[in-house]
């Protein structure tokens, strides 16, 4: 790749701009993605934290489901918290639909409500669990990159990545997770 990879961040709702300094520090170009045309020319896509129910509805209302499906077929995609919920195979508490891109099941707010939100250390880097989902892989093809207790919190499945936590709220750039995601793109 001669020019810098362009990383789209789905910007219908949620935590978008905190990714900018991470993406730039990892050698990419940040692009908020809101409409079909914004998907043209991106090399990777982040589905950010926010409210998964709101995002599902806005994806439908703005008819972006096909763009997302194409992105899932063609490029590395990373789901964070709500974004991970969108990418899972099945979702509980409550049951809701998802795109089934990574063979994991997710329990929404599995780590509790806001009063249970916490910082957590992954390989010396502080990340934030905020009303976070619990992830459980359904098969051995899912590579587990980090755990909290017994539960995986950072997983990789081919070029699809999911974290139940937020590294983007940490202001040391780039996060190891953004670096890892960027390495998937250069390999792609």
């Amino acid at each position: 790749m001669t020019s810098k990879p362009v990383i789209g961040v789905l910007a219908l709702q949620g935590c978008v701009t905190p990714h900018k300094p991470h993406i730039e520090a990892a050698g990419g170009v940040f692009r908020p993605v809101k409409r079909a045309a914004d998907f043209d020319g991106i090399d990777g896509l982040i589905l950010p934290g926010g409210e998964s129910t709101t995002m599902l509805k806005l994806i439908d209302r703005f008819e972006l489901a096909d763009c997302l499906k194409k992105a899932f077929e063609r490029m590395p995609v990373w789901g964070i918290c709500a974004g991970a919920i969108l990418m899972g195979e099945s979702v509980a508490n409550p049951i809701q639909r998802s795109y089934g891109v990574i063979p994991v099941t997710l329990i929404r707010n599995g780590y509790g409500r806001q009063m249970d939100s916490t910082h957590f250390d992954i390989d010396g880097y502080t990340v934030s669990f905020i009303r976070a989902p619990i992830m459980a892989p359904v098969n051995d093809d899912v590579e587990i990159l980090a755990k909290r207790g017994e539960s995986p919190v950072w997983v990789l499945y081919n070029d699809k990545m999911a974290t139940s936590f937020h590294p983007e709220l940490t202001q040391d750039y780039p996060s190891p997770m953004h670096e890892r995601f960027m390495s998937l793109i250069t390999k792609h």
Binding site: G14, V16, E51, R61
Partner: protein
């Protein structure tokens, strides 16, 4: 723990709520309508502001059972209001486990001099503000999120616009000020000096700022977003309209593409019936203006 610099968890949740709509609801049925429409959170209330305005009397924290029922009914974050300075109501709300507390001028203040020391709490607080100094005093007390006060329960956006513009203007003034002027600005404004330094360096408030108070239409919500609000609270505007589900969806749609008039137009069409009736500001007596509460 490592030494990473990280945004605190209270403001972290506010980051997740950006680009969304937070809706006032008074029961489970309304909470579900709000969630179905795509609200990012709900504010559990006994009465929406326009009814508080009409019915008068002392407005207090909602009954715990009501808040708990709503928390069980929806999967999105649930906020609840306590009276200004009523730290015991806040303790009760924290014990219930709500996701955010609004120390709100919509309820009757419990302390006419002091706000709650919000640093004492693990649960995050949002507070209203009409200008930069008020906003920074609330942050100094520990608010993790700000909102304009607007004039709640009026369906009239003029006060929210005034507050957004006021804060934007004062931020510009601080950014353009000579550093030597900052202490006197802090003294004259009544704002904490250290937080003014942050505003001057970053060109923005130290925590996110949402809009509230008088939002009644998709265009109102988009207006607030274009003026720099990062999410919109809608109180009476949804459930006092003729078509709550329609208005709720339309406002969510308009906020997602607030800078695209074609989408705001589309969101504004096909609504069944009228938005909430609304009150002209000159029709309010000075003592009926809720934005004057708070110090």
């Amino acid at each position: 723990m490592s030494k990473s610099r990280v945004i605190n968890l209270k403001t972290g949740l506010a980051e997740m709520l950006k680009g969304g709509v937070i809706m006032d609801v008074i029961d489970v049925e309304q909470a579900k309508i709000a969630e179905d429409a795509g609200a990012v959170a709900v504010m559990a209330l006994e009465r929406v502001p326009s009814d508080i305005r009409k019915q008068g009397g002392v407005a207090r924290m909602s009954p715990p059972e009501l808040i708990q029922e709503i928390m069980e009914a929806v999967s999105i974050p649930v906020m609840a209001k306590c009276r200004i300075g009523h730290f015991t109501e806040a303790q009760v709300l924290e014990t219930i486990g709500v996701d955010y507390i609004d120390e709100s001028e919509v309820l009757t203040p419990a302390d006419d001099e002091f706000h709650i020391n919000k640093h004492d709490f693990k649960v995050p607080f949002v507070c209203g503000a009409t200008n930069l100094a008020e906003a920074l005093r609330r942050v100094g007390e520990g608010a993790a999120l700000l909102r304009t006060k607007g004039e709640a329960g009026t369906g009239n956006i003029v006060e929210a616009v005034r507050h957004l513009r006021q804060i934007n203007k004062e931020i510009r003034d601080v950014v353009n000020a000579d550093e030597a002027e900052l202490m006197t600005i802090a003294k004259n404004m009544g704002a904490p000096y250290e937080l003014l330094q942050v505003v001057r360096e970053e060109g923005r408030l130290p925590v996110p700022n949402f809009a509230a108070g008088g939002v009644a239409t998709p265009a109102d919500a988009a207006l607030c977003m274009q003026l720099g609000a990062e999410t919109v609270f809608v109180g009476s505007g949804i459930f006092k309209s003729d078509d709550p589900a329609g208005y709720a969806k339309a406002i969510v749609k308009a906020v997602a593409h607030f800078d695209d008039p074609a989408v705001v137009l589309e969101a504004s069409k096909g609504l069944k019936g009228e938005p909430m009736r609304g009150i002209e500001m000159s029709a309010l007596e000075e003592d009926q203006k809720l934005a004057k509460r708070g110090w």
